[in-house]
Subunit: 447 residues, 2 copies
């Protein structure tokens, strides 16, 4: 008796990214509702399951949806607004004034749609965000059908979204209560950074995380300036300081981690802190190069983040993998460092794990949500094919992604978004761009 399912997904190669890093040639996946029922050879799956729909193709590969563990999604509307500038000029004369002038729930909602569109088309199924008006971000993300961990940034100074610590925390707690338990949106608490949040704010954020059992998202040791600043204020290195506050454990996702000492790496490993490596942003802003190989050796789970599109300038995890896997070979003077399998693991299963979503997504295994990507291998830049991991990490591009499923729903089909109108999303972005670039607040004339 055949078991009935909603989808059978059939591919030349299935990479479940399970513990054994199996590669299934001529594989298939049975999906029922939001979940993966079984993954195996196509022969076995087709013998056991009857499906209302079969998603197939020739010369393709299926792997888990990619996880972007650090971004500010709505910043896509500031993509390319100010490039090739010193960090402080970029922030103080361009990014902050633009944010101060333009951010609103309406802006966030429209901008997040564009960010989700870009990410989904590039095979990213989950993102971890820290920005403002996350309620609008959550609605937009859910509408488009993407998975996200969202937290509004908490700072010790007023921004458009809140004026006092109490207001920031009240907003954060009400956001957590509203969204906790949602199938796609995981609320989190997001104290911005050590130089923008004093110890009381950090401890309070930690307390909220424990109270509501939600993840913590924080920037950590992105720039040399920031590390010096923390050392001046607290006479400790940033990780040691956080540890002294009782802040660190598996609940914490620390973005950047560029300027770490060996003892700090050891603490991150011991406490099980997850790291989001944002190589393209760190390079472009000249922040520095994170000691990824040392972190991996110490047992730290390093994952990939794009950071915001104002400093990247895209939300492309395929490219983050490729850049990082190549760069750390040169940086560690070891051509075997950060091999292709490890890079894909960091971008999938580990990404889910560091966000507290390890049981929900990140691999193609029984009981996980059906979050997966099908890519076409019949492309000049993917021909010939000797090694599937190498192709995904070093050669694959977003345009190779043909089908994306999130939580059992096909959200990209034949390379096109199914859940919203792409041209409307682009149209809204252009209207916002017109307003932004013709405003007296615009810091430069567009070409």
């Amino acid at each position: 008796m055949m078991q009935s399912v909603d989808y059978i997904i059939h591919a030349d190669y299935v990479l479940p990214m399970d513990e054994r890093l199996t590669v299934i040639k001529d594989g298939a996946i049975a999906v029922k509702g939001t979940q993966i029922l079984e993954v195996g050879t196509s022969e076995g799956i087709f013998r056991k399951y009857a499906s209302r729909a079969i998603i197939s193709g020739r010369e393709n590969v299926v792997f888990p949806g990619l996880i972007n563990t650090h971004t500010h999604a709505a910043m896509v509307y500031f993509r390319g607004i100010a490039d090739d500038l010193p960090l402080r000029e970029w922030l103080e004369n361009h990014v902050w004034p633009a944010e101060n002038r333009w951010l609103s729930p309406g802006f966030i909602s429209d901008a997040v749609e564009l960010a989700c569109l870009e990410m989904l088309k590039g095979g990213v199924t989950t993102y971890n965000d820290m920005y403002f008006y996350e309620d609008a971000a959550a609605e937009a993300t859910k509408k488009v059908g993407m998975r996200a961990v969202l937290g509004a940034g908490i700072l010790d100074f007023p921004t458009k979204s809140a004026s006092t610590a109490d207001e920031y925390f009240a907003n954060a707690e009400s956001f957590i209560k509203d969204w906790k338990g949602d199938n796609l949106i995981t609320p989190c608490i997001a104290p911005h950074a050590l130089y923008t949040c004093g110890p009381e704010t950090l401890k309070r954020a930690r307390h909220v995380a424990d109270t509501y059992d939600v993840p913590i998202h924080i920037h950590l040791s992105e720039t040399r300036w920031e590390v010096e600043e923390i050392r001046k204020r607290y006479s400790m290195m940033p990780v040691e300081y956080l540890d002294s506050l009782g802040f660190l454990d598996e609940r914490v996702l620390a973005a950047h981690c560029v300027w770490l000492t060996d003892p700090e790496i050891k603490i991150l490993a011991q406490k099980g802190v997850g790291v989001s490596h944002c190589i393209e942003s760190n390079l472009k802003l000249s922040s520095g190069i994170a000691p990824v190989v040392s972190m991996l050796k110490a047992g730290v789970k390093v994952t990939f983040g794009t950071d915001g599109a104002a400093s990247n300038n895209d939300l492309n995890i395929l490219s983050e993998m490729s850049t990082a896997a190549k760069l750390h070979k040169a940086y560690s003077e070891d051509p075997t460092a950060l091999d292709a399998k490890t890079a894909l693991l960091m971008a999938t299963r580990w990404g889910a794990e560091v966000l507290g979503l390890g049981r929900a997504t990140g691999s193609i295994e029984e009981g996980r949500a059906a979050d997966l990507v099908m890519a076409n291998l019949n492309k000049p830049h993917l021909t010939p094919m000797y090694n599937i991991y190498s192709h995904i990490v070093y050669s694959m591009r977003p345009s190779d992604v043909e089908m994306v499923m999130v939580d059992g729903r096909v959200v990209v089909n034949d390379g096109k978004l199914t859940t919203a109108d792409e041209s409307e999303i682009l149209y809204k972005a252009k209207e916002w761009c017109k307003k932004i670039s013709t405003s007296p607040f615009f810091p430069q004339g567009p070409y």
Copy 2:
């Protein structure tokens, strides 16, 4: 009276990459035969010229065809054959045995078609190659309609293509004589490197270049090992040694240039030697990071090369620009280094100049060959648009390229090759791959 032309190309933005780095909004280009007649505003061009065909579109940009100044095109057939390995193991146990087993004019011809297909679809209109059986490469390149500078590698030891110095040079001279004056193919002389060619071979290559007035293509200071080797043999640094032989001038394109001293950079600048920076290959093979910012400051014309696809693993100059422009900001600790305009200049006009093709291609100006790219800006990852240079360098992907013209001929239209059958090129590559990966010479089992 309107002047009749073959094409008017009309775009929202035209970047001629001329001396003034003009940006023409609502621009157009008149093309007659192989040449650009005029570039200007669309109003001016449409008033003056009548065209049999108009190439247009909404929300697009036209810029000069990108120049790949260092590759081994046929190595696309070894894409991903061996990754994440130490350099010597990669070369000695994988690449050289594969080359020794498989290279032939037939292999080169089929593989070069694939390489040209990949490059053209990514907006590359000219490549500079050093490999074997360049006659087959020239025929294939010409058939597909791409521009190339080609030179068969000359070494002091036998390979499949030649056994003695005399044979290498006889082959090279006959190749030069056969192709000199061709509209698309420029023959060159390509002594492989300082550690594989003794001083007599280098001087002889230099003499051939002068005799026939052709460019010289050589690998230079790619690895630390190689620099040490040259110092041991000749008690000089590699650039000083080449200079002592009278080898260096504007005719020379030196690939890699990773391990240079400041005095060597000064010599390269004084002699007008062109450099091909192969950042992705240098990172992936852990060769090191070239001092590009210092070279640019010293006045060296640095351009971009992909190297072969066995060490990259694609032939994507858009990505080389992006990686280099970001990386050198972090490496030089200066976020203003290698800005987007400079990166595009290096990938276009300078690329042509260092190959001795500065009067033929590299910019969209009157009298230049019509080698140009039209890309679609109406994409999620290119929206919104504040700065066109930034978009091309930091966000554009090969899949955004819609039309490519080489020497006045449309070779890519609507993203598809017009000059050969794409599926046949891919089919041939897969047949070769089957042979290679099932042979006892194959160094690893494919997944």
